[in-house]
Amino acid sequence: MNLAVQIAPEHKSGLLLSNPVMTASGTFGYGTEYPHLFDIQKLGAIVCKGTTYQPREGNPQPRLMETASGVLNSIGLQNIGVKALVREKAPIWAGWRVPVIVNIAGETIDEYARIARELNGVAGVSAIEVNISCPNVSEGGAEFGVDPKTAARVTAAVKASTSLPLIVKLTPNTGDIVKVALAVAEAGADAVSLINTLKGMAIDSRTRRPVIGNRTGGLSGPAIKPVALFMVYEVAGAVTIPVIGCGGITGGSDAVEFIMAGASAVQIGTASFNNPRAPFDILRGIERFMENHGVNDLAELIGAARG
């Protein structure tokens, strides 16, 4: 049974995963928290915590709130900064079989480029995933990923600064995610991952204040799965680069649905909180589906629901 998948076919060295199951950024730390718990080498790839140029302290508490079938979070990109990541984490990753993808986030286009340059030639880093759901601080605070032109400028700037395969993670908080996907593909993205969290809010009626310290948060979990699935279906029908599906995937059958919608790989996020073994259980679920349905190659399932 062949589960291997190439998610950067346009890139000179490519990014071949042994299977389509990746962890979603921000839900699996730096991967180093887990090796003693599970055999993470079995995963397709690990996407690490969103990384900025300087270390960031993140947002005030509360940062989390469970909602109906979902979670609102506003962590605020608390992270150790790219230099500490290169110094402390990458040497550990260099000894791993599983590829590690570094998720990067900036407040200016130049910051994205500078982070990418710091990651060039670093052993242990296999690709970059660009989080374009950050506020564009120098241009009024709207998210980079909302506007196709700005999203393309970030993508082009990172592409020009790195020799690594480049995945762009798309935000659903935009008018037309297909236009953004086409724009970043045109600007040099090797793959797109979607969706990031949906903006949301919760209010505590007792205190008459938003629950989340930063007022709003990003909604994830099963609540957003149908939205994510449709966006993956739409984007996969428009772009020629691989699509990585993400949003509320909790079991193997969810993953199979995203693959049938056109995703070449999937990311597991919120499900890992309730079940730290979720990425492994989901991989096993995909394998079982293939066994039960006589599918020998994952490629047969990619986009099977289209047409």
Partner: protein, 281 residues
């Protein structure tokens, strides 16, 4: 850390609910014993477990270990939040049902070998992790003074005596002194557990506490006059998603920098936390 499914041995409500205009109310507190040798064998007092609370709950709920016995059983003592989806679901489980959990997690209390006498200060549900600490300390032949505070007599742990097995294995006499304190005076002293700290502080080697943030603020103020309190070890409650140090949902600011309550705590030194800046859960 183990991730496993455990059978409920017994489960009953032990405290009445709490109506609190200034904080979220609870509809009662429950004591659940689980057959769980995988976790019992590793756990130390102050550590916690993450419990999955049914299909409707996307996040597991963190509960400190209340007791652990030699038969591989663990006990959780937890409050059911008013309208709480996860704790409400958990409270409806019955003996014989299985629940899924993982742990033990976090860093527990650190009792120095040379310490002979410990002061434990419990505010309300704060008795949850301190009971396990008292059991272990008594077994190590340390003297324990437990200030057990609650709103009223109905919110005090009904049975705070040492574990049954200690009564038969020749270790006694125990030196466990339980002092009850209630805000309404319906049992023991009238007032707060923190009111009595000054009566005992000179005689003890270490102080451990668990309770609401307000209690820690009082202790921090007291520590100006009683420096021994500065190194009191206190357990924090915080909203969590992963429990493993990966999501950064439970980060707090400490005087030693940012800390994740799940991985770096939940036990912190009283003097390391900025209590005025910390928002109660």
């Amino acid at each position: 850390m183990k991730q496993l499914s455990a059978r409920i041995i017994s489960h009953q409500q032990v405290f009445a609910g709490l109506e609190r205009p200034a904080a979220r109310s609870t509809s009662g507190s429950w004591l659940m014993w689980l057959k769980c040798p995988g976790i019992a064998g590793e756990a130390v007092p102050g550590q916690f477990v993450m419990v999955r609370c049914g299909a409707e709950s996307v996040l597991p709920r963190p509960f400190s270990l209340h007791r652990v016995n030699d038969n591989g059983d663990i006990a959780l003592l937890y409050a059911v939040w008013e309208g709480g989806k996860g704790t409400g679901w958990l409270s409806r489980r019955q003996a014989g049902d299985k629940i899924e959990l993982f742990g033990p997690l976090g860093n527990g209390f650190s009792v120095f070998p040379a310490s002979r006498h410990l002061l434990l200060v419990a505010g309300g549900m704060g008795i949850a992790p301190l009971r396990f600490l008292a059991d272990v300390a008594v077994r190590q032949k340390k003297a324990v003074t437990l200030l057990m505070g609650a709103l009223s007599a109905g919110h005090l742990l009904p049975d705070a005596s040492p574990p049954q097995e200690l009564l038969t294995d020749g270790i006694p006499p125990f030196n466990l002194d339980i002092i009850k304190v209630t805000e309404d005076g319906s049992a023991g002293f009238k007032g707060l557990a923190t009111d009595l700290i000054v009566n005992h502080i000179d005689r003890v080697d270490q102080v451990f506490a668990c309770g609401p943030v307000g209690m820690y603020r009082t202790m921090a103020a007291l520590s100006e006059s009683f420096p021994k309190l500065k190194s009191a070890q206190v357990s924090l409650e915080m909203r969590m998603a992963c429990g493993l140090g990966t999501c950064y949902g439970c980060t707090i600011k400490t005087k030693r920098g940012l800390a994740q309550v799940c991985r770096d705590g939940p036990v912190f030194d009283l003097q390391d936390v900025d209590w005025e800046a910390l928002r109660p859960v």
